[in-house]
């Protein structure tokens, strides 16, 4: 298990120069960079943002990026005005939105982030359904993952499952990354496959990706339940971000063409074929779940 990165003292030390830089530049003027924050859950994030910044620069919008070790620091940076835009998970968006009292602005999401779902898988031979969960073991991904931990518990409760009677087998790997690395979900699948858990919760996108690749983790497992859909990652801004900047950002973002050979490499690395404007509707379940499960102040 990886420890949460970033303690107060380290954070202060890294804030100084960034602030000084921001203070000398006024957002919205020519040559003022829009600072995007993202989490470095994999080295490829650098490649993605080098490619994307170049694309935005070519389109006339100066974009620079800052990488964070975890989403908690990214949300802090957004709220403290260190970054203008945060490339957030759904959990991070809900946390930011809650601290902004519902005023967070969504400025785009990937096609895969809309209509996201959680699936419960079980061994193919076990004819089980969610009502069999009480008295059994449910494997969950990292506890800060919306799709592999927080939402599955929420939806199970909604289904009337008595969670007090369900043993949870949690794989809290890569905490702070909100499940981005997929590591905990692979452990969930393995736990179900070897019989350590009766069922396991993973994101449908993760499940499909592993299955389409013919990965051994998926062998002998079946989807036995699929959740209502919700939204996943989104770009989040504070309400002060000027309207013209929002418009320019969104216009360029939605204009990214997967059929453009210059962009395909970066879009593939980001797992997007088409950007969507995004909307708030898909985060209500998660906000409720995080509230009930004590993730929000």
């Amino acid at each position: 298990m990886r420890a949460l990165a970033g303690h107060g003292t380290q954070l202060k030390a890294s804030r100084g120069p960034v602030r000084a830089h921001k203070g000398s530049l006024k957002l919205g003027k020519v040559g003022t960079p829009l600072l995007v924050g993202a989490v470095a859950y994999n080295p490829r994030v650098v490649t993605v943002w080098e490619g994307f910044s170049e694309y935005f620069r070519r389109g006339g919008l100066m974009v620079e990026y800052v990488l964070f070790a975890n989403y908690e620091r990214l949300v802090d940076a957004l709220l403290d005005g260190i970054v203008d835009l945060a490339w957030n998970t759904n959990t991070a968006f809900v946390a930011a939105d809650s601290r902004l009292r519902g005023a967070a602005v969504i400025l785009g999401m990937r096609d895969v982030d809309a209509a996201y779902a959680t699936v419960l898988v079980a061994r193919a031979g076990d004819t089980v359904s969610v009502v069999d969960l009480p008295g059994a073991v449910l494997a969950l991904g990292s506890r800060d993952s919306g799709h592999a931990a927080i939402l599955p518990l929420h939806y199970m409760a909604e289904q009337g499952i008595d969670l007090d009677r369900v043993s949870l087998l949690r794989f809290d790997t890569d905490l702070g990354k909100h499940g981005d690395t997929g590591d905990s979900e692979r452990r969930v699948l393995h736990a179900v496959a070897v019989g350590e858990a009766l069922m396991g919760a993973v994101g449908d996108a993760t499940w499909i990706a592993l299955k389409a690749e013919g990965r051994p983790e998926t062998e002998g497992l079946n989807v036995i339940w699929r959740s209502p859909t919700y939204n996943h990652c989104c770009f989040t801004a504070r309400p002060e971000l000027p309207e013209p900047v929002r418009e320019q950002w969104l216009e360029l973002l939605l204009d990214m063409d997967y059929n453009d050979p210059e962009l395909r490499h970066y879009m593939d690395l980001e797992g997007v074929k088409r950007w969507l404007p995004g909307e708030r509707g898909g985060y209500e379940d998660l906000a409720e779940a995080m509230g009930k499960q004590g993730y929000l102040p």
Binding site: A115, I208, A212, N259, P261, K273
Partner: protein
């Protein structure tokens, strides 16, 4: 059928050729598959526009998105098949029209003949992109010959029959094969230096260079093995080294073909024939015979390539002569082949140290040197130089033979 179990193949076969906005309907009896299809479509850049129950089945309508999986135009319908000859698929039949286009795209990647390059690949920067600077019309045939006449320096040489020569004779053989092996190193490194620079569109050139380098590696092997066979030692002469080093300095492909293939290996043909004829043991004779057979191909390539290049571009002649002059200027103080080599060749040919045999052998070696010079001039003429220029260039050639 399920995803990861063939369903995605069927979906791709339906959706890939369809136009954006076209819809396909999937009917499945499995609610698990139905659920997975929603996520699959989203990941693949398509939209699910309808999902409904039809008795015990689920119907899902997928609308094709705009993303293309391969960034290239659709593949053309199959064309004319390649020609097959009674004994197989010949390299010269690789292309329907026999030759590649004159200029290759310097930034093209690894795009096998007949395939279509996808956009967005990382660009290469090939240095040799001009067909006529690399080509010869008998290239495919030479490649064919190279493939057909590979041999094994471990097993195809009667090594056991080279034991027991008198020490003075073994010493002479050892010095001669050491000299040859030294030269084969240069013949190895010169074509090898061009391998990475040739545009991959000229696949026949790649095959040719690979065979050339492979031949020379085997020559290094066989003559090194003959050298160490009986435990004798010989000198790797500095004069040979100096001459060969200048060969490696030439960076132009055609000039290298002239200096190495036509002039150097051309001279070696006569030397190897001499060694085959006079060798005191069957192992040395066989090694020389097999290497000679390979060198004939290399010389043939050089002669044809230079001739064709000169035909296409007569101005090239002055550049080629300049290359020979430049090499000669770096070897001004090399006045003749090393006496050690001449003596070793003489002893090898004599097979004994008796005065009669030695003087006969010395005459044979002088004859060899005369033949080498005459044949070199003849080859240059065959390669497209006029008689006077051929004599001039031949005289400029290194006395080291290669």
């Amino acid at each position: 059928m399920e995803l990861g179990g063939g369903l995605e193949v069927l979906l791709a076969a339906m959706l890939d050729p369809a136009s954006p906005g076209d819809e396909i309907e999937v009917s499945t009896a499995s609610s698990g598959v139905a659920g997975e299809l929603l996520g699959w479509a989203r990941r693949a850049g398509h939209d699910v526009v309808d999902e409904r129950k039809d008795r015990d089945r689920t119907l899902i309508v997928i609308r094709r998105g705009t993303s293309r999986r391969v960034l290239a135009p659709p593949l053309a319908a199959a064309g004319e098949p390649a020609r097959l000859r009674p004994d197989g698929f010949h390299t010269r039949d690789l292309r329907l029209n026999g030759v590649p286009d004159a200029g290759a795209d310097p930034n093209s990647g690894f795009v096998p003949l007949g395939s279509l390059a996808e956009a967005g690949a990382f660009g290469f920067a090939w240095q040799l992109n001009d067909r006529d600077g690399l080509w010869s019309n008998d290239l495919a045939q030479l490649v064919e010959g190279a493939s057909a006449s590979q041999w094994d320096a471990s097993r195809d040489i009667p090594w056991g029959e080279a034991r027991g020569l008198a020490p003075f004779l073994e010493q002479a053989v050892c010095q001669v094969v050491t000299f040859i092996a030294q030269n084969e190193y240069a013949a190895y490194y010169v074509p090898a230096r061009f391998q990475h620079a040739v545009n991959p569109e000229f696949v026949e050139v790649l095959l040719w260079l690979a065979s050339h380098v492979n031949d020379e590696a085997r020559h290094i092997e066989v003559f090194t093995k003959r050298g160490v066979l009986n435990g004798a030692h010989a000198y790797a002469l500095a004069s040979a080294q100096r001459s060969l080093e200048t060969l490696l300095q030439e960076t132009d492909f055609t000039a290298s073909a002239l200096l190495l293939n036509v002039l150097g290996e051309g001279s070696f043909i006569d030397l190897l024939q001499f060694v085959e004829r006079y060798a005191p043991d069957p192992a040395t004779a066989t090694a020389a015979r097999l290497a000679h057979r390979d060198e004939l191909r290399h010389v043939r390539f050089g002669v044809t390539h230079v001739r064709q290049a000169l035909e296409k571009n007569p101005d090239l002649q002055s550049r080629l002569v300049a290359a020979a002059e430049q090499r000669a200027s770096r070897l001004l103080d090399l006045t003749g082949i090393s006496p050690l080599i001449v003596e070793a060749l003489t002893v090898l040919a004599a097979g004994s140290l008796t005065p009669t045999r030695l003087s006969e052998a010395a005459a044979a070696v002088r004859g060899l040197m005369k033949d080498i010079a005459a044949n070199r001039t003849a080859r240059l003429q065959e390669a497209g130089f006029d008689a006077a220029t051929a004599r001039y260039v031949s005289d400029l050639h290194t006395p080291n033979l290669m």
